[in-house]
């Protein structure tokens, strides 16, 4: 090799990261063939590239299913890279547990993979009406280079009730739920490993976020708890035992609903509810100050109709 060639070769190795190969998202194999990336417990920022939700994939004998694509196309590509370091099986499904940005913004990274996008029957409408807002809002926070490539990719395979998907000798049971965390929550149960990907129907460590119906969420919690999983991948927080993982969340939502009900009953205002509801829960959750007052407002505007 000439001297010039050696310089060139060296230059290739010291090129800035933009030119280098896409790094793979850090994932753990929580059970054979079941891989999970645990998101940072934080708000979506430029620095964390929106990687705040738990995302993962399941590998069957024929194909792969991705569960949520992350909070940016960059994260989606890193997830794809993580899949490709472990298998070259085709990605048959990209399943979105619901329509919030931290779970769907990475969808475009999978657009060229021939995968079918799967979601709750209400997800297309949710994305249709909120998609542009999410993109615009997060552009202001995360910047153009992360958000310009985001595409809102709605599901074409819709779940109403339950539906089974097969990855080749590996059955996934998908279930669409009535309004709870959002109005389009979908869970994915891997029968082989008894792992439940709960999406944001389950929060650990990260304060639960009410963006659907607090009463609805409390109503489904028993049925959720009865699913025959031994392990849950929550939408946020660490992989945990099932159904024990529901304990903290149920307590938070019960407390919030009770506080709000009392506030409404005594005729106090929505503003006072935002200031005082579920105050006892503050030490138990991360991001409490970012979400609790908003949860209280949402719960109030729901419970005042009772």
């Amino acid at each position: 090799m000439t001297f010039f060639g050696l310089v060139l070769l060296t230059a290739l190795f010291v090129l800035p990261p933009a030119q280098a190969q896409q790094p793979a998202l850090d994932v753990s194999e929580v059970s054979p063939g079941v891989f999970v990336h645990i998101g940072t417990i934080a708000l979506m920022t430029r620095e964390n590239e929106g990687a705040i939700a738990n995302v993962g994939f399941i590998v069957g004998s024929d194909a792969v299913a991705v569960i949520d694509s992350g909070g940016s196309v960059r994260e989606g590509r890193q997830l794809l890279a993580a899949i490709r370091t472990r298998t070259d099986k085709s990605i048959r499904y990209v399943i979105n547990t619901h329509g919030h940005p931290d779970h769907v913004f990475g969808n475009a990274a999978f657009a060229g993979e021939g995968a079918v996008f799967v979601g709750h029957k209400n997800l297309p409408e949710a994305l249709r009406t909120r998609g542009p807002f999410y993109v615009d809002a997060f552009r202001k926070i995360m910047g153009d280079s992360l958000i310009d490539e985001v595409r809102i990719v709605p599901p074409t395979l819709l779940v109403n009730g339950t539906r089974e998907l097969d990855l080749g000798g590996r059955k996934l049971v998908l279930q669409a739920w009535p309004a709870a965390h959002s109005d389009n929550d979908l869970t994915v149960f891997d029968e082989a490993s008894k792992t439940l990907f709960a999406g944001d129907l389950v929060f650990l460590e990260h304060i639960p976020v009410v963006d659907g119906s607090i009463r609805g969420w409390l109503r489904i919690m028993d049925d959720l708890g009865r699913l025959a999983a031994t392990r849950v991948v929550p939408g946020h927080g660490r992989v945990s035992e099932w159904p024990e993982a529901l304990t903290d969340q149920r307590r938070y939502l019960d407390t919030l609903a009770a506080d709000i009900k009392a506030t409404v009953a005594k005729g106090a205002t929505i503003k006072s509810a935002a200031d005082t509801a579920a105050a006892s829960e503050r030490p138990q959750w991360q991001l409490f100050d970012d979400y609790n007052a908003r949860n209280a407002t949402a719960a109030f505007s729901e419970i005042e109709w009772e």
Partner: protein, 274 residues
């Protein structure tokens, strides 16, 4: 309704996750207030209203789609003047005129609370017209947490089922007489109050505006309060107010929306409820 301003266009109904970014780094926006005085008030003289009216809003909105606002009269009980109308203006909103309240001449409404949508950091003005023909203004400043912090329409199916449902409620007060005297009450109407500024991301057409534009409230046949509302009023318009009951037996509400629906309901004044 003013034409939508592109800067604020898509920010009305924001995201589920709270954003803590500072407002857009774009050039300082021009103060829209002088233009609004022109458009809404015909350039009439507006006096300082700090002795007439108070406006209360949270400095930082937890949920920019449901921001509480309270308007409170500061007129002394023996003041010969009375409040005729109060216009609420959210300066930076695409439709800045949030609501115009007309106070019934015999109802002595002294306080009105509702919930509004706030786009971004903004002044909010309340302009009262008194029976002396003069306008009086107070203002406050609201930060909508770096943008919008929650979209309206959390539960689309529930909202559809609730369209036009109305609830009336009376709140107990220490100074309340059996059928007359000061009274605090609340009216709620189930309605998505779609702004018309939400874009359908598939068709790239705007989801049509569909909102309550008029609400009227009576005690028997005596007007208590009416509201001319716009898209800055939150989903499920909620008006809470203090007035003087005149011994009327019934409370009546009529709401109209932009699709021509008329919702009517009547309640016996002793009971509150649905």
């Amino acid at each position: 309704m003013n034409g939508p301003r592109l800067l604020c266009l898509l920010m009305l109904c924001g995201v589920a996750l709270v954003m803590r970014g500072s407002p857009s780094g774009a050039a300082e926006p021009v103060d829209p207030w002088p233009g609004l005085v022109q458009d809404i008030f015909n350039n009439r003289a507006i006096n300082d209203g700090n002795d007439i009216l108070a406006i209360e809003m949270p400095y930082r909105a937890e949920d920019a789609a449901i921001v509480p606002v309270t308007l409170r009269s500061k007129l002394a009980p023996d003041d010969v003047r009375r409040l005729k109308t109060i216009t609420l203006v959210i300066d930076q909103n695409p439709a800045p005129m949030a609501a115009k309240f007309e106070l019934g001449s015999d109802a002595r409404v002294s306080e009105i609370s509702t919930r509004v949508r706030v786009n971004s950091y903004t002044n909010v003005h309340a302009v009262a017209e008194l029976s002396d023909g003069q306008l009086y203004m107070v203002k406050t400043f609201v930060k909508a947490s770096g943008g919008c912090s929650a979209p309206a329409g959390k539960n689309v199916e529930e909202a559809r089922n609730r369209l036009g449902q109305m609830k009336y409620r009376q709140f107990a007060r220490a100074d309340q007489g059996p059928t007359s005297g000061p009274r605090e009450a609340q009216i709620m109407i189930g309605h998505p109050n779609n702004s018309g500024l939400q874009m359908d991301q598939v068709t790239h057409l705007y989801i049509p505006a569909f909102f309550v534009d008029q609400l009227q409230l009576w005690q028997d046949n005596s007007p208590v309060l009416s509201m001319e509302g716009g898209i800055s009023i939150s989903e499920d318009p909620n008006i809470r107010f203090t007035y003087v009951a005149n011994g009327a037996k019934t409370f009546r509400a009529e709401a109209k929306d932009t699709s021509g629906h008329v919702f009517q309901k009547e309640w016996k004044i002793e009971d509150s409820g649905t």
